[in-house]
């Protein structure tokens, strides 16, 4: 999980887009995926998301992400198959049945979640977190305090994952059997380790807050940042494309 949500330098089109456009674009892309249940449209969205990821050389990281999202979406899909019967009966169950409609709905859920997640995660890999914060403050007029909270949260995810990894290594070195046994056993062993992780998280957060405070955090305003984030033609084009996708999704959900 090292490098999770961490910026990867590059010079692709996605790297060069305005941070605000990337953020809004990713959100609109995800909204479009949730606006319609048209399987063909969702498959196209997934293909488009993968193409974007390939264009900036992040296909490997995306594959890892897709695996994680797949596990989560599979759980939802199984619940959907077992408890939301629809369509022609395939398997009779004591409490209902598994139907063709349930399978289609489950497949839709999996593809939708995969398609919606990729651009959101990709945004963090192709945008410096400081640029995202500064652009949100400068362009979207988000108060710096909130933007900083958001960026700190994202920044601390890989830090805490790294901490957890270190703690697990230290406990393995003491004889805790993280390196053998079932996943359930490992989860059971991880629970007590939440204490040191929580303690180190609170310590780190406290240190970061004090450091920010002594460097004049409260004096910072929208004008404090020197870097400007002007919109270029490619930004308008990218935003137009995402809006068009959203309109398509809405039309499909209304018409079909």
């Amino acid at each position: 999980m090292k490098g999770f949500l961490e910026y990867v330098p590059g010079d692709s089109l996605l790297h060069r887009l305005n941070p605000v456009v990337k953020l809004i674009g990713a959100i609109l892309f995800a909204v479009a995926c949730f606006c319609t249940s048209n399987l063909v449209f969702l498959a196209c969205m997934l293909a488009l998301a993968l193409a974007m990821s390939a264009s900036c050389g992040m296909l490997r990281a995306t594959t890892g992400l897709m695996k994680a999202v797949f596990v989560f979406s599979l759980l939802l899909a199984i619940i959907q198959i077992l408890f939301t019967p629809s369509g022609n009966v395939l398997v009779q169950l004591p409490w209902g049945y598994i139907g063709t409609g349930s399978l289609l709905a489950a497949l839709t859920t999996v593809i939708r979640l995969e398609a919606a997640a990729i651009p959101l995660f990709l945004t963090f890999y192709v945008t410096k977190i400081s640029d995202m914060t500064n652009a949100a403050v400068k362009v979207l007029h988000v108060p710096y305090k909130y933007a900083f909270t958001f960026s700190s949260t994202v920044h601390f995810i890989p830090v805490f994952l790294n901490d957890m990894s270190n703690i697990m290594e230290a406990q393995t070195a003491r004889g805790v059997e993280f390196d053998q046994g079932s996943i359930l056993k490992k989860i059971g062993l991880m629970v007590p380790l939440c204490v040191p992780l929580l303690v180190s998280s609170v310590r780190k957060t406290n240190s970061a807050a004090i450091a920010a405070e002594v460097r004049g955090f409260n004096l910072r305003t929208r004008e404090s940042g020197y870097k400007q984030y002007p919109f270029a033609a490619r930004d308008f084009l990218a935003l137009g494309l995402v809006v068009a996708l959203l309109v398509c999704a809405i039309c499909l959900s209304v018409l079909l």
Binding site: A170, T172, P196
Partner: protein, 303 residues
Amino acid sequence: MTIEFRDVHASYDENIPILKGVSFTVNDGEFVAFVGTNGAGKSTTMRLMNGLLKPESGEVLVDGVPTTQLKTSELARRVGFLFQNPDSQICCNSVREELLFGFRALGALDEEAERRVDDIIAEFNFNPNDDPFLLNRGTRQLLALASTIVVAPPVIVLDEPTTGLDFRECVKVMDIIRHLHEQGTTVIMVCHDMEVVADFAERVIVMSDGRAVDQGPTFEVLRNRHTLRQASLVPPQIVDISLGLSLMRPDLGSSLVACANTLNEMEAAVAAAAGRPEAARSKPTYATTAPGAEDAFEEGGVR
């Protein structure tokens, strides 16, 4: 228990090699220090010893068994590991629970374990009910050390045990480690403090750019300015003084080393008289001359 590295290559990312063919042997009962700059591969070497990292090629043998054939949790019985940051190790709500945790993890919690924990609490002067997370940095480091040694592993690996400690805490930690070594525990330590290395280690392995560039008795290695410069290290003052005196008054330089040897012999005699023959055995004897050392000193210049 011996630890042997045979042409070990290791990395965290396949594109960035960290260890580039490291070979050495740590014999039973030795006190070996690894020195080198940050990024030289010392901590990676330590992680290979207890199986937290497996070699890409070559072999790491613990008592003749390759670590690739053993689980890290199994190796924990043989090789105790003290991490640089005690907060990675500490996970229980009281000092006593923390000390018992190792026995629980190894499935060895019994009356003998309880007794040993009580002994350690008395030896380290801990309050068994204290919350480990509320202790100061030095005491947390001591607790991490105590919870590593309480299960009595035959080998103990210490990754920068004195980092962040004040002088008094540093001396306390190192005295405990020296005592462990005197009782027969093999001690392997990464340390940036060359004075600590000169005072405690019997043998030094110098690492630079993923390779073991020199190894040998502590004073011999620390007098080799060429190697130290290659590893961007500065020798401890005692070595500088000894070599400086050797240049100005060869008789005095040799006398200084002879004094150190006499002191060690006296300490060994006291230990033997007190019924601690293992302590007597652990005292190093320094050579009074090192071939080429004076040349190297002149080359390096007097600081």
